[in-house]
Symmetry: C2
Subunit: 214 residues, 2 copies
DNA sequence: AATAAAAGTGAGTAATCACTCACTTTTATT
DNA sequence: AATAAAAGTGAGTGATTACTCACTTTTATT
């Protein structure tokens, strides 16, 4: 199975898509992520997909509906691990040390981003301009991620593993550090050589102990 | 002087602009940052500025030239403090403690972002799609900022104030943390209530000592 | 095999796009 | 005050835009 087919299957698991519809989605993802949503014409998508322009509008009422049909499932997919993995593993069978939680959390996100990079780029680009996507992101992703991290941090604070900084600020700092790493790694400097295991450990070390000399 | 006039003067210091040209720039900044560059029409800019559409093209050959004429001066402005302030103050009359350097660096960036927010939004949005802007950003901003931070970190490592993590990784982590804070503060959750002084101190504390209990 | 429903087509459409140009008005130069 | 240059105008341009629709082809249902 090709890379595109894997991405499609990941995103549209149970949805029934015709062959031409799949080609439209693949073409749209490629063009949207390279040129941006507004700068991509439906004509261009149709040509790249090898279908008639009318076929696009047979499946999607508008160009925006095509965009949303691609980005919305991504967000659903993104929030999955937050609810399932982090929650249960930490609270039911918790990682004993905060370090182990961080390591698992970073690895999981790295894996997702690696697979879904073009769609994630589209999401990041269009969230500021599409209220529909913006709302779904804030309510579904940002809020829930934040809430989970709050709970997890509180639990490690109670265990005495973390300092007593307000959980809200601590959460912000942890999230900034992790996503700062992943965004540097995959968006800003994907061309640089990265020793992922090493950088992950340094990121964890930084979160736990900072840069100051003991 | 109105907010817009201050921003204009900051960005276009010595450049001679006619009154109508100023109105075009103000209108363009507003529309580009709200709807995005590609989704903004020159007709719309002209109407908002209260000028004829032809007037835009009297001053700018193309719509893209208008975009670049707004974002390029911002980048020049952004790199200023990196060369002047940080370099001289740290190396000639250095801040004795890394904390003091961080505090000054964060405050300076916060001040700039506060003033230039809409233009910064346009820059962030368009860098991925405009090779001209992308190159200027990587060469002028990213690279020089990184180089300076490397030097500064090295100097504090030599003073024994920082642990011996490779400066490259340390620089990445410091930059992620600072800009993670500023992006959360001004881009993601500008509506939330922020105690800026407190959050700045917590950010510094986090960089220096992490979250782990001593 | 007959029928209906769904998928696919591509020429066509009105609206909008960035940009031009002949012309007028304002400003600077002598 | 005369002249030239610069700034401003707005109707007009061909190209492109998202989207439609009457029609054909493919697939599913009986």
């Amino acid at each position: 199975m090709s890379e595109e087919e894997i991405l499609l299957q990941q995103l549209f698991e149970e949805e029934k898509l015709t062959e031409k519809q799949k080609k439209i989605i693949v073409a749209a993802i490629e063009s949207f992520s390279e040129k941006g949503y507004a700068a991509t014409s439906t004509n261009e998508i149709a040509k790249k997909a090898g279908v008639a322009e009318g076929t696009i509008f047979r499946h999607y009422k508008t160009k925006k509906e095509l965009l949303v049909s691609i980005v919305a499932p991504l967000m659903t997919k993104l929030i999955g691990p937050v609810i399932v993995n982090d929650f249960h593993k930490v609270l039911d069978r918790p990682y004993e040390h905060a370090e182990d939680f961080l390591r698992a959390a970073i690895e999981k996100r790295r894996e997702i981003i690696k697979k879904m990079l073009p769609v994630i780029k589209i999401m990041i680009q269009e969230i500021p301009f599409q209220p529909e996507l913006r709302e779904q992101f804030l309510e579904q992703i940002a809020r829930k991620t934040f809430d989970r991290i709050l709970i997890v941090i509180k639990s490690y604070q109670d265990k005495g593993q973390l300092i007593e900084m307000p959980t809200l600020s601590a959460a912000r700092l942890v999230i900034s550090t992790i996503f700062g790493y992943l965004i540097s790694r995959y968006i800003f400097f994907p061309e640089s050589e990265w020793d992922d295991e090493l950088e992950t450990e340094r990121t964890i070390q930084f979160i736990m102990h900072g840069l100051g000399k003991k």
